[in-house]
């Protein structure tokens, strides 16, 4: 074989390339595939750089994806190189973010010896549960360590909580007594009633409540607090739209588990299904997972994101910084809850916390009921407008600091 793949039907080849991209985490819809085919028609396909530019234009939709795309392109469309068969392999430094199963598949599909496949692990693109899962502390912790009194207090508070999540304006208008003059309706009425606009029709934007997304650290250092916050999520979920995720070494969506009416059952269910409760913490990887797999779906409609963690991170700090920046751009407001903020002597010195802070809109405590109440008030009073992030600046508004501590 001269090339990495036999030169079969170009469309089939394109589809296979799209599959490689999908395995690397890019979006490859049928529509994009059609676009790619159409686009390739317009150019001279013998020019590799042009093919790269065209396919990049179609399949890449974020700057971060560009490196992955280029690496995948290099691997897939590697030109038949006589030196390669002789064993001299051009060194590739960038890896593809494939999980081990997919990597094995591509090794076969591309007809390469293992040494020619790029390294699977890469610091900027972590692999799902690879390596670390062996060290994962698979302890199943019972949530019920909190005193009965505390539990009752939480429930009473949350049931009676006087706040609702702030609303956002939608594009559609609805008739209203007060609001902007609706000239369309006013005039139509006027025309019907003889040309005199006697009654003014008014309308205002329809409003919807913002969805809440809770990303909750359930690692060893956090389990007592996270139980409170899950109870909080459970109670709030009865009246608001809440999506809940938990993580310690990996991320699990638990929204459906918390939907049970009875909070004890819901929490027990969560403890049963989430296997790494009480393990170590890899915030960066959890957020990467969230951004990659869930953000698109759950972060629409001006969502407010709550991250609960003490910032004790055992993972990669650069990754955490990048993913926090991305999460910040994706959410209407990003609130970090840190139970340690409750103690007066605390300052956010841990590597993870320091990395995350510049990308946080509010930094609040979450160590007791009072703190949760303060959080509720915050959520109810969210401004309509997003806090502006200075483009290109490394520093954004975390100077708000320890509000509400």
């Amino acid at each position: 074989m001269t090339g990495p793949l036999p030169a079969v039907d170009p469309l089939a080849r394109l589809a296979l390339f799209a599959r490689l991209l999908r395995d690397c985490g890019l979006r490859t819809t049928p529509r994009r595939l059609t676009d790619a085919a159409l686009a390739l028609e317009c150019i001279d396909m013998r020019l590799r750089s042009d093919v790269r530019a065209v396919l990049g234009g179609v399949f890449v939709s974020r700057r971060e994806e560009l490196a992955v795309f280029d690496a995948a392109f290099d691997v897939f469309f590697a030109s038949p190189d006589p030196r390669r068969t002789a064993g001299a392999i051009p060194r590739r430094t960038r890896g593809l973010p494939l999980d081990p199963r997919a990597a094995a598949f591509w090794k076969d599909a591309l007809g390469m010896p293992a040494s020619q496949l790029p390294r699977v692990e890469d610091e900027s693109t972590p692999v799902q549960s690879s390596g670390y899962s062996a060290q994962e502390l698979l302890r199943r912790r019972d949530f019920s360590e909190m005193s009965w009194e505390e539990e009752q207090q939480i429930r009473r508070l949350l049931r009676q909580a006087p706040w609702r999540v702030a609303q956002r304006r939608t594009r559609r208008l609805e008739p209203a007594r007060r609001g902007a003059l609706n000239m369309r309706r006013t005039l139509r009425r006027a025309a019907r009633e003889g040309g005199e606009p006697l009654r003014l029709a008014r309308s205002r934007p329809r409003r919807h409540r913002r969805p809440l997304v809770l990303i909750c650290d359930v690692s060893g250092s956090m389990d007592r607090v996270s139980r409170q916050l899950l109870a909080f999520a459970h109670a709030v979920g009865r009246r608001e739209r809440v999506e809940t995720f938990v993580f310690s070494t990996r991320l699990t969506r638990v929204t459906h588990l918390l939907r049970r009416r009875d909070i004890d059952e819901a929490l027990a269910q969560t403890a049963r299904q989430v296997h790494d409760i009480g393990g170590g913490t890899r915030i960066g990887e959890a957020l990467w997972r969230f951004n990659r797999d869930h953000a698109r779906r759950v972060l629409g409609h001006g969502a407010v994101v709550l991250v609960l963690s003490d910032g004790w991170d055992r993972g990669d700090v650069d990754l955490l910084t990048g993913e926090m920046a991305r999460l910040h751009r994706l959410s209407h407001r990003l609130i970090w809850l840190n139970p340690l903020l409750g103690s007066a002597s605390y300052s956010p010195q841990t590597r993870g916390m320091a990395a995350a802070l510049p990308h946080v809109d509010d930094f609040l405590a979450a160590h007791n009921l009072e703190a949760l109440d303060e959080l509720g008030r915050r959520l109810a009073a969210l401004p309509e407008r997003r806090r502006r992030v200075e483009p290109g600046s490394a520093v954004s508004g975390a100077d708000a600091g320890r509000a509400g501590a």
């Binding site: 159409l38 594009r171 000239m183 606009p197 502006r388």
Partner: protein, 314 residues
């Protein structure tokens, strides 16, 4: 009906679409826009398959200029929609001319019922429609399809994005009173953004995406020479070299290409023989490139090193 958008006069004979990527690069160059092949390829394909173009990049890398240059190359009218927080349908697509409608009703006065019913129908006809950039671009009657620049989409709200999605999906706008307006000639749509927030994937999926990076030294020097012909080669190289170093520093606001051009111009005015920039001159004119006090302080401290580290190449 008056166009509300910025309009550039089209030359009498439109030059026609480029036949290939090389021709496009050449013609963009002739229009004063020097771009790399990757960008040109994406533009070329967008033009061919009729897809919107989504250009992202830091401020000042020439996203907007790309659209302006394309309008020049195609001999097309440029229709510009500047996005901002709170932009809505009335500003972006169309609005009814209420004042004229009111007048129309008044003039009707005591007409009989039949005439009034007709008038009510007339009231929401094209005659009373104010066309904003989007409708203008979709419902164009141009010889050459116009270029629609949707600038800084990330400044608008998500709601507006959703609306834009509808428009870019099939190049139609529906006006409840009139029906659906369909594009006869699809405009070349260029959407720009500099990532103050993430634009929704659904919108990006409708577009060809390209991330514009800062140009490399050679290209940026060439750009400076094209934009500011009065600046000598040597001086352009010196200033550009320093700017490229600055982009590696941890600054609040990195200088864009426009800042490089401004800075080179400023230095050229002050330089005695107009050909050499030393640290003192650069220091005096630094405000052309850096706009934050903190950045100025930082760079001022590092400037002697930056200049000496880069011996001028004539």
């Amino acid at each position: 009906m008056g166009h509300t958008a910025g309009v550039t006069a089209a030359p009498p004979t439109p030059p026609g679409p480029p036949a290939g990527i090389d021709e496009l690069i050449e013609r963009l160059g002739a229009a004063g826009y020097l771009c790399d092949r990757r960008l040109a390829t994406v533009i070329f394909v967008a033009l061919r398959i009729g897809k919107p173009l989504f250009l992202e990049g830091e401020a000042g890398v020439g996203k907007t200029e790309a659209a302006l240059a394309m309008a020049g190359v195609l001999g097309a009218r440029l229709i510009r929609l500047q996005c901002y927080e709170g932009i809505d349908l009335a500003h972006a697509a169309y609005e009814w001319n209420y004042a004229r409608q009111l007048l129309h009703i008044r003039l009707l006065g005591e007409a009989d019922t039949g005439a009034r019913a007709r008038a009510e129908r007339d009231l929401f006809s094209e005659e009373f429609l104010l066309r904003r950039p989007l409708l203008d671009a979709i419902d164009n009657r141009d010889e050459v399809a116009p270029v629609l620049l949707i600038d800084e989409i990330d400044r608008s709200d998500e709601e507006f994005e959703a609306f834009l999605l509808e428009v870019l999906n099939d190049f139609t706008i529906s006006i409840p009173e009139l029906g659906t307006v369909r594009a006869r000639r699809r405009p070349l749509v260029v959407v720009t953004g500099n990532r103050t927030r993430e634009v929704h994937d659904a919108l990006k999926r409708r577009c060809l995406y390209h991330w514009i990076d800062y140009p490399d030294l050679e290209r940026e020097v060439a750009i400076v020479r094209v934009r500011a012909p009065e600046v000598g080669e040597r001086l352009a190289r010196q200033v550009t070299g320093v700017v490229q170093e600055l982009r590696g520093m941890d600054l609040y606001k990195l200088p864009g290409v426009a800042e490089t051009v401004d800075w080179a111009r400023a230095v050229a005015v002050l330089a005695e023989d107009g050909s050499n920039a030393d640290a003192t001159l650069l220091d005096a004119t630094m405000g052309a490139a850096l706009k934050y006090q903190e950045d100025l302080d930082r760079v001022r401290a590092a400037l002697p090193d930056l200049v000496s580290a880069r011996p001028p190449t004539p």
